[in-house]
Symmetry: C2
Subunit: 349 residues, 2 copies
């Protein structure tokens, strides 16, 4: 029931995704009458869905705490429960991000040692794709959280994006020593000191996200979300420039007609619907957030991503990576603290 | 002497900017022999420059504190001094941002009531231009600093960008209540409570920067720099997509040839050199930072900006705005604190 065009866009998405993944079954949580009305438009789909009627739905503008308190019987809560009890392999929602995160956290809990989940976005680059996290689950991140994000993101890139040895970078602002805030600097030190089994390459900058050299870009949810939205805005701006330039003369108008195939390729490449789907990383269960304003095509991308995740060894990989890592991080953290204390003592004496 | 191609790129920039502003005189600080060698390529320019020989130059990788200590006789320091003693109307440098900021701060000092300067960047939008600040002078910003940036940016948009009543927004991540960190939320409250003579429109998101509805976007230097670099990277990515799409078929190749005029317009629009120049706002003197890697054309843009600033009422406007604002902000800050204390007391009782 989440998103601006629900449940129509959700059912349309199921119909598109079903064509690509005919073995998938969809559990639909929401207003049964509305769902049935939408299903009527896709006669083949009905045999592959289970409808779970829920009279309540979480409003798009619900505050997370309010959604948790009042939404226990909502479509969103019941869908998450289906993952918790292993009836479903993953949950996909276009509802309120804050409510989805709060409810998922309460029902599914984080992996041992992970204090907060992150939202990971797959970002197009010159050579393929990069994973950016966090893009909005946390407004501030601690040192340990940034290290967790590096480990979670690395496991994702390995299991889902099939990178043999993913390169992980920490988002910062320039290589000069004065730059970067204290949390980022400390996370960098910890990532180096802990000698983790990941290929940590150090600081990267905003233009490295789409540069194609880095597989995983780690950042706090505030900066990550701003980067994501800024990139969307910039892509729109360039598309606008391109359209008006093509209208600037008769010759270029003719050229644009001849090159319409190329423009279609470009349009597809830049279609935000094809990259729709933020993954909540760090939870005992798969949760994918779809953009609220998307249509069936966009919703299908989020479904495809969830199906791909469910089919991968992603959760095993993460559990394994975290078990290797947590101890090392704790040891490195303690050593760094002890060294800091020694330096302080030395300075006093 | 600053930048990757100095002093050649600087002299080339002077030659280009001089064509557009024939009444300008350039004071060149640096290695006289090297400067003279470059000037030889622009015979008409020599009569319009003054060379001030400085044997030292600040290295591009100098730490700010080190630059301040060791660079008292450097070209950068002497150029800033020329503004301080009012020999020059503005200083332009492509050298290290950190060193330029530290040296400018020490020599020129901030306006009364402004604790830290910001770097402001002029950003292309769908309808024209927007000002974004801070894009990298501060890695963390206090509540008061964000309010200062709003006032400084508004005065800039008014005096330089000629907006009658500039719309000012605060960069945040979504409109839900849970979103936004504490500093941003408090700055928003203060901007509303202080009832300043500026058109504050509230929170904006990353895609609003290039959306064209907002004249001034206020943010901390960490998020602002990440947004700026991410936008640069995205523009490059889209250009890459466009190029490869145009090569995808014979028809589109022919189309691209016919539309070459349009592509030239687009290339110009997207050329980062035409928007080169970050302005240090909040200082008693005009300082413009050019991109270090730019060439003569890019350096000329930074010079043009400095000339435009020097010709505007910008500094008077800022002084006036700050005098109106500082008192109001202090009063509003005190009131908000008192209210918070009252609420705390009420909760305890």
């Amino acid at each position: 029931m989440g998103g601006d065009h629900a449940p129509g866009s959700v059912i349309d998405g199921c119909a598109i995704s079903y064509e690509r993944h005919p073995s998938v079954r969809f559990l639909l949580f929401g207003d049964e009458a509305k769902i049935r009305a939408e299903l009527a438009r896709h006669p083949g789909l009905e045999a592959h869905v289970e409808i779970h009627h829920t009279p309540d739905a979480v409003p798009m503008d619900a505050k997370p705490a309010q959604a948790v308190r009042q939404g226990r019987k909502s479509s969103m809560a019941m869908a998450i429960t289906s993952v918790k009890v292993k009836r479903a392999a993953a949950v996909v929602s276009a509802g309120s991000t804050g409510a989805l995160m709060a409810m998922s956290l309460i029902q599914l809990r984080t992996f041992p040692g992970v204090s907060r989940p992150a939202i990971a976005a797959i970002w197009p680059t010159i050579t393929g794709e990069t994973l950016v996290l966090d893009v909005g689950a946390n407004v501030e991140s601690t040192i340990k959280q940034l290290v967790d994000f590096a480990v979670l993101g690395e496991a994702f890139a390995h299991a889902v994006m099939k990178r043999e040895r993913p390169k992980v970078g920490l988002l910062n602002i320039g290589s000069e020593d004065l730059k970067g805030n204290d949390v980022v600097k400390a996370a960098d030190t910890l990532l180096r000191a802990a000698n983790l089994p990941i290929d940590y390459v150090g600081y990267v900058e905003g233009d490295d996200i789409s540069g194609g050299e880095i597989d995983v870009v780690v950042t706090d949810g505030f900066s990550g979300n701003i980067a994501l939205k800024t990139a969307e805005g910039t892509a729109k701006l360039v598309a606008h420039y391109l359209r008006s330039a093509m209208q600037s003369s008769l010759l270029s108008k003719i050229g644009a007609v001849l090159a319409s195939g190329a423009f279609n390729i470009l349009r597809k490449k830049m279609d935000p619907r094809s990259a729709n789907g933020g993954v909540f990383l760090g939870l005992n269960g798969l949760v994918v957030k779809s953009h609220g304003g998307t249509d069936g095509l966009g919703y299908a991308s989020a479904l495809d991503l969830a199906i791909e995740l469910a089919d991968s060894d992603f959760n095993d990989d993460i559990t394994h990576a975290l078990s290797l890592v947590n101890e090392k991080v704790v040891v490195a953290e303690a050593e760094l603290k002890a060294e800091k204390a020694r330096k302080k003592d030395a300075a006093v004496q």
